[in-house]
């Protein structure tokens, strides 16, 4: 095995090259000074200028972020509450909710999307910001529940019981005992919810209305003609995601260290 190592590293390098090719390409060509997509004719910030002057694009970024944030907060709270309730529920309820939650995760996205569209239209709800937000919350909650449930299984019931016996209100027991133990699950649930919402195209495409675009639907409806401002937008996303990932990956490291110290004391 050992002697094969250079070859295996080469293979990994090729895969990474394949995965990063379009990303590097987008970043490089966002600085191109012509519309050409194949020839880099010189450095310019023209497309960034155009992007910031493009109201539709700015709106799309705004809606993407605000919807992702609200959807994450709401679905994380609802998902956490539901997951805790679920862990104490009777089997029948537990099973059926799990099955129902699987629907949007196992169904093709387009099916979930048209289901929601038919539903909103039948109720005569105007497609727009509200339906878009609602749809995002709807498809995020199952992922939050899914990521919290395994953590809840590890929680020792006796601790909460003890807290109750010692005079805690149920809310306090929840807040002081259960939540801290499942916090990693909540955070990863929130993270999944955020990315699901931030990246979503299919569902947004079907449930959005006049003037409300997120980045995905904007890109889809406007790239029939090559538009290098989309490259600038993509570069912005790459930078933002990199920043978020760095924060997300470093903060737990610091936390972990603190936690370890904490453990050492006991």
């Amino acid at each position: 095995m050992m002697k094969k190592k250079p070859l295996s590293k080469l293979y990994l390098a090729i895969i990474l090259l394949f995965l990063y090719l379009p990303i590097v390409y987008v970043v490089v060509f966002s600085f191109n000074d012509s519309r050409s997509l194949t020839h880099f004719t010189g450095f310019s910030l023209e497309w960034y200028e155009k992007m910031f002057g493009n109201q539709m694009m700015m709106d799309a970024i705004y809606y993407t972020v605000i919807i992702a944030v609200i959807a994450t907060v709401v679905s994380t709270i609802v998902g956490t509450i539901t997951a805790i309730g679920l862990s104490k529920s009777r089997r029948l309820i537990k099973e059926s909710i799990t099955q129902i939650n699987n629907l949007p995760m196992l169904n093709p996205e387009i099916v979930t999307a048209i289901g929601l569209m038919l539903f909103f239209t039948a109720l005569n709800i105007r497609l727009g910001f509200i339906t878009l937000l609602l749809a995002h919350i709807i498809f995020c909650i199952p992922y939050v529940i899914l990521s919290i449930m395994p953590k809840l299984r590890q929680v020792d019931d006796n601790l909460a019981e003890a807290a109750l016996d010692l005079g805690c209100t149920p809310f306090k027991a929840l807040y002081k005992v259960i939540i801290p133990q499942i916090l990693p699950g909540i955070i990863s649930g929130a993270l999944i919810a955020f990315t699901m919402s931030f990246d979503d195209f299919v569902i947004s495409y079907f449930v959005t209305g006049p003037g409300i675009n997120n980045i995905s639907t904007y890109v889809y409806t406007s790239v029939r003609r090559i538009d290098p401002t989309v490259n600038a937008l993509s570069t912005l996303i790459v930078i933002a995601i990199t920043a978020i990932l760095i924060v997300v990956n470093i903060v737990p490291l610091i936390k972990e260290r603190k936690f370890k110290k904490h453990e050492e004391i006991y």
Partner: protein, 259 residues
């Protein structure tokens, strides 16, 4: 503790309204005809007859299945060695590789597909080939990560044991490593095959209008033609086909484990 149970009730109502009812609405639309008001609904199989009596529609469905199957197979063929080599690395390098493979997935799929459009615009490749590249690109990381997870969980001692019992590298791989990574492959298949069958923006952006898949049919009947009944029927057919394929994949998994 039982008081916590009540915390689940609001979501039961929520899920009933926002998950179950929309699904039922698709079924309702699929089995009714245009212009049917809810009050005067009449059950009809017309939409399904229309789909299956026309070889064009069936061909599009078969083409989508073919594309999804080939994409899945290529993802396994390319992704498995990658995951395997990753699992051989030093722990720190492993973490780094996982991060590097995950990173592109965080960037909007549409944005990455759009990038391929620019990359391939002067390539002269056929629309079909471009769609394949886009599909493999988007779904490969899922496969790599799933297989990697199952490989990294594997107990190294098993391989040592196999060697001790006289297996050469190849045999140890075939008899120990590969069977133990099957669950990873299966969940990889789920994550690749499922979205590949129903995908509609990858063929749309990379194949132009020339490469129609079943997802594009659904989009077409909902967005352009406005025939929601037929569109619902197509999406129902698609869902059933996917469920059946998933059933067989899972079955394959279990039968392996039984042995």
């Amino acid at each position: 503790m039982k008081s916590f149970r009540r915390m689940v009730y609001p979501y039961i109502i929520w899920a009933g309204i926002f998950i179950v009812i929309p699904m039922l609405m698709i079924v309702f639309y699929a089995f009714s005809k245009e212009g049917n008001a809810v009050m005067t609904v009449s059950f009809t199989l017309d939409n399904f007859i229309r789909f299956f009596s026309d070889s064009i529609f069936v061909n599009v469905l078969l083409r989508s299945l073919k594309l999804a199957i080939i994409t899945t197979i290529i993802c396994i063929v390319i992704g498995y060695p990658c995951a395997y080599f990753m699992a051989q690395l030093k722990p720190n390098s492993q973490t780094l590789m996982v991060l590097l493979v995950t990173f592109p997935m965080w960037i909007n799929m549409l944005v990455r597909t759009y990038a391929w459009r620019g990359l391939l615009i002067e390539s002269g490749l056929s629309p079909e080939l471009k769609v394949y590249i886009g599909m493999i690109y988007n779904f490969l990381p899922f496969m790599i990560l799933q297989v990697y997870t199952s490989l990294s969980k594997m107990d190294r001692d098993l391989i040592t044991a196999a060697h001790d019992l006289g297996c050469d590298n190849k045999k140890a791989f075939l008899k120990v490593t590969l069977p133990l990574s099957v669950p990873g492959i299966i969940s990889g298949i789920t994550l690749v095959f499922l979205p590949a069958v129903s995908s509609f923006f990858i063929p749309r952006l990379l194949g132009g209008g020339s490469y129609v898949l079943v997802g594009n049919l659904v989009e077409n009947y909902f967005v352009t033609t406005g025939d929601w009944n037929f569109g619902s029927a197509i999406s129902l057919i698609m869902t059933v086909v996917i469920l059946i394929s998933m059933y067989f994949t899972r079955k394959f998994d279990y039968s392996k484990e039984d042995r």
